[in-house]
């Protein structure tokens, strides 16, 4: 009995954190259902750095961000942009000198999902658990 309990406890210790990480740390990059583009992590990075500004059909990409204090934004920045906040601030200062600004910020992941569902040119990111049929997932990040 003791052995079984120990085994069960060990199994829970090993599995529980990874399953939690799986749920909370998975990010879905979403677009409008009509958009069938396939993007790599690097291409998403170029979009969020405002270097890549057009979809292949010539429409202007509307990238959406979360507020700077949102944990999901920090995770997205780490997984996609892989740069420190200081480096990113320097980068955006240089872009500001040319009148180029960071992606638009929306207040919540729910607002991002609704915006993307309504605008065929938008791209955003939300937790995997919040994805529904109104948007299409083009990339999973974890």
């Amino acid at each position: 009995m003791v052995t079984r309990l120990l085994g069960l406890t060990l199994t829970l210790i090993v599995l529980a954190p990874s399953s939690l990480v799986g749920q909370e740390d998975r990010v879905a990059v979403i677009v409008h259902p009509q958009r069938h583009a396939a993007l790599s992590v690097d291409e998403v990075a170029q979009i969020y750095l405002r270097r890549k500004r057009f979809w292949d059909d010539g429409a202007v990409i509307v990238p959406l961000n979360l507020p700077s204090q949102a944990p999901l934004r920090a995770l997205f920045s780490r997984l996609v942009l892989d740069q420190t906040e200081t480096r990113l601030a320097d980068y955006w200062n240089r872009q500001y000198f040319y009148g180029i600004f960071p992606p638009a910020t929306l207040a919540s992941t729910e607002a991002v999902r609704r915006y993307v569902a309504a605008d065929p040119n938008a791209i955003g990111y939300v937790p995997v658990s919040e994805v529904d049929g109104s948007v299409r997932v083009i990339l999973h990040l974890e």
Binding site: R51, F97, A122
Partner: protein, 378 residues
Amino acid sequence: MEALRSHSRTRRDRLIVTRRVIIFLPLLITLVSPAAWAASANEAAPSIERAEPETFGTNTPLGRLSYQAGRGVRVGKTGLVVGGFTTAEVERLEEGDSRGGLEELSFLVSLKPIPFVHLFTELGLGPLMELERGRKGVHSDPQFEVDRLYLDLEARDALNLRFGKFLTPIGRWNLAPIEPLVWTTSEPVIVDEVFDETMTGAMLHGVGFPLDGALSYSLYGTFLNPLDPDADAPPAKRSTGAHLEWASLRGWSVGASYWASQRRNGEWNHLGGADLLWQPHARVEVSGETVFGEGSREDGVLWGLYAQTVVEMVRTLYLVGRYERFDPPGVKRAVNLFDLGLVWEPVPYLRLKADYLIADHLNEFSEPGFRMSLSLLF
């Protein structure tokens, strides 16, 4: 007398330029406004309120007037953003001169009324205030300057067309040469002395995304009379050039530049260059540039380089070191320069710098000594 006439001509030219800008800007805004409102309405189709960072803001008939420190004032959904920068500087040079003051107050005006059109200008007013040892009182004779004014027509990532006055795309430094964006108070000699900082004409530019980076190009040439040229450094009669840059997402980029300039006697000079940025660690940045060939200021072959390292020692405090060598055209002696300084950046839009420039001998290209500056993006 000739100097007086020249000064009067310069003032007259500035007035003409000011008038042109005053006429040109509202005209363009008027022309694109109906499209602007249509485009804004389309962009706001999901009718979801944005949550842009805001230092302060107020509601106006044009929409939310929202100011973010270091990012300017955004005027509702018009696509108009107005910001700028300024710098206060003091210096004590080895030759004995001591100066200080408030440099230009520069405004950055960006108007993106519809997705494929971008109007941008940098307007300067300065110097605002100058103090100099041996000269009584505070002096102020601010002049209005159009540092940049261009229209970008954006068709694709790989294809954009720029018309107007813009920074000459040679190397890295000259593409962002303002105090709040650089790490030292003085410019490298090869950026300051060799080629025209700006040009008035057209530029084809774009970017592609092979592998893990961005490959960008610029092809440009002058075909208009220079807009508000620098009276102290008259631009070449004509010029043309190209710049190619590979910027990796992994913290490094390399670039190559070519520039040809026609001197007043009709002959063409050719200049080549290369530049590098390497960020091997989150706290370390290494950059450098080299140029070789003939510049627009003097005939004869020159070459020069600089290599600069920036290290974040503790959070917000940076140690900066730069070595430069400039071998001017003709029989003039080559100069070696060392610049060592500290930069404190408490917030991304404010930089306090202090550095000392050392030269291996006194020369006409640089003024060794101590400098301090406080620069602000607003």
